[in-house]
């Protein structure tokens, strides 16, 4: 089964009988219900990695500067609260 494959079903008949190999999280994005979006201000970021440590998903990369993976970030805001230099802004999600 192709893990990268995105399953497209246009009508009921095309569905499999049961939820089997119904794509992995590589294809099933889990951020559709985000209302606020954290945005890293790279000028302020000191690269301490605290946001990466606290992200429960984890949807932040352990890099310097860190990157937020918006396909999986649910907008919980923990990183915004935990950032010691207030380098992460809370922005309204617009879709």
């Amino acid at each position: 089964m192709d893990k990268e494959k995105k399953y497209e079903f246009n009508k009921t008949e095309e569905y499999p009988k049961m939820v089997v190999s119904f794509g992995s999280t590589l294809t099933n994005k889990t951020a559709s219900w985000r209302t606020f979006k954290p945005v890293i201000n790279e000028d302020k970021c000191i690269g301490c990695g605290i946001c990466w440590k606290f992200c429960p998903e984890p949807a932040i990369t352990p890099t310097n500067p860190p990157k937020i993976i918006y396909d999986y970030c649910k907008g919980c805001g923990i990183c915004i609260v935990e950032c010691p230099v207030n380098a992460i802004d809370k922005v309204d999600e617009k879709r």
Partner: protein, 385 residues
């Protein structure tokens, strides 16, 4: 073919034996019945080549059966009343996972007051889990319904589990003659279970993963459609079973309904008593008939309408009540008639709760109540007033 004298519990065990189930998981203590006790004997004596797993609850019993069934192994379990209720969560899961498990459920009342006597409240409360529910009249039908249950459930177009419901004590602890079918003949009727998707390390799949609103709806519709499709399959399998083994089954069984003014709608053991009463009332000149409903899910709307359309009064007997409304079979029957724009006086009769006997005299009282009263409401028959 051999004839044995066994109670309804053993008829269920022998049904699983003849179906050559490969896996049984069960919780062995109250409200469990003799069904799994006999099966554990059959397994330990080597008569049935199956794994028998004792688990710590009915919830685990069904969960274990789901695991086995997902691995492509025909599974069986048995329960009753409180045990079935404890299973509730995994009943939904097994149906939605399209695992064609067959389970016998001895219809027993739920507590408090603590009771082990006949009452349908346990299975009726699990009506919407996605399990097909068949209610049987005698021990032969217990045995037959399990064999047919696997055939219907395992059909690739259906893949939904079946619950075979038998009345406590009136069947479960009463001995009757049961004709057992030879294993070779069963094999010709019921081929081995071979699902398209199963747990297999060489062909890994993810089962039952997160399903977003974008997809969930259609999976639910598919289960409904499979249930509807099962109606025809139940008829086909019942006919094939009859052609092969001489006992025909359908979703319903009409008894002297063609010219009847009053038609009783019954299920389970009450159907047998009702048919006997119909004969006696007819001998007295009353045109009474009986429609036995075998399947609550899927519900045989078309047949219910066909058999009831010429009746002057329709009298539905329930051995349970949905508090604040009426009996489930009464609701279902009325809904079917309404769908066909048939408006006939109907009576909902609540009888036999918690194992109270429903005798020929009780059925006579039911018919008399329908004759003497205004319709479209429920009556408590056998209540101490």
């Amino acid at each position: 073919m051999k004839k044995v004298v066994i109670n309804g519990d053993f008829a269920a065990s022998y049904g699983a034996l003849s179906a050559e189930v490969k896996f049984i998981a069960a919780y062995p203590i109250t409200p469990q019945t003799l069904v799994v006790e006999k099966l554990s004997e059959l397994v330990s004596d080597g008569e049935l080549k199956a794994s028998f797993v004792k688990v710590e609850s009915e919830h685990s019993a069904m969960a274990a059966c789901m695991g086995a069934e997902a691995a492509g192994v025909r599974s069986f379990t048995a329960t009753s009343s409180q045990g079935l209720l404890l299973m509730s969560e995994v009943l939904h899961w097994s149906a939605r996972a399209r695992l064609p498990i067959v389970m016998s459920n001895v219809n027993r009342a739920v507590g408090p007051g603590w009771s082990i006597w006949a009452d349908d409240t346990d299975s009726i409360s699990q009506r919407d889990t996605g399990w097909m529910q068949v209610y049987v009249e005698n021990n032969q039908e217990v045995y037959d319904a399990i064999l047919m249950g696997y055939k219907i459930s395992e059909d690739p177009g259906i893949l939904l589990p079946t619950m075979v419901n038998l009345d406590a004590f009136f069947l479960s602890h009463t001995s009757e003659i049961v004709e057992m079918i030879d294993t070779e003949d069963v094999r010709k009727f019921l081929p081995p279970y071979d699902p398209k998707y199963k747990l297999d390390v060489n062909d890994p799949h993810a089962f039952g993963a997160l399903t977003s609103p974008e997809y969930y709806y259609e999976f639910t519709v598919k289960i409904h459609k499979a249930m509807i499709k099962a109606k025809r399959k139940i008829q086909e399998v019942g006919k094939e079973f009859g052609d092969k083994f001489g006992r025909y089954y359908d979703m319903t069984e009409a008894y002297k309904t063609e010219d009847a003014d009053i038609i009783l709608v019954t299920h389970g053991t009450i159907a047998g008593t009702a048919k006997e009463t119909v004969d006696r009332l007819r001998a007295e000149g009353k045109k009474v008939g009986n429609l036995k409903i075998r399947y609550l899910r899927p519900f045989p709307d078309e047949q219910v309408y066909e058999h009831l359309k010429n009746a002057k009064k329709i009298v539905v007997v329930d051995r349970s009540i949905s508090y604040g409304k009426e009996g489930a079979f009464y609701s279902e029957t009325k809904a079917s008639l309404f769908d066909y724009n048939l408006f006939v006086p109907t009576y909902g009769m609540i009888a036999g709760l918690g194992g109270r006997d429903v005798s020929i005299q009780t059925i006579r009282e039911i018919v008399k109540t329908a004759e003497d009263n205004e319709p479209n409401k429920i009556f408590f028959i056998g209540e101490k007033k």
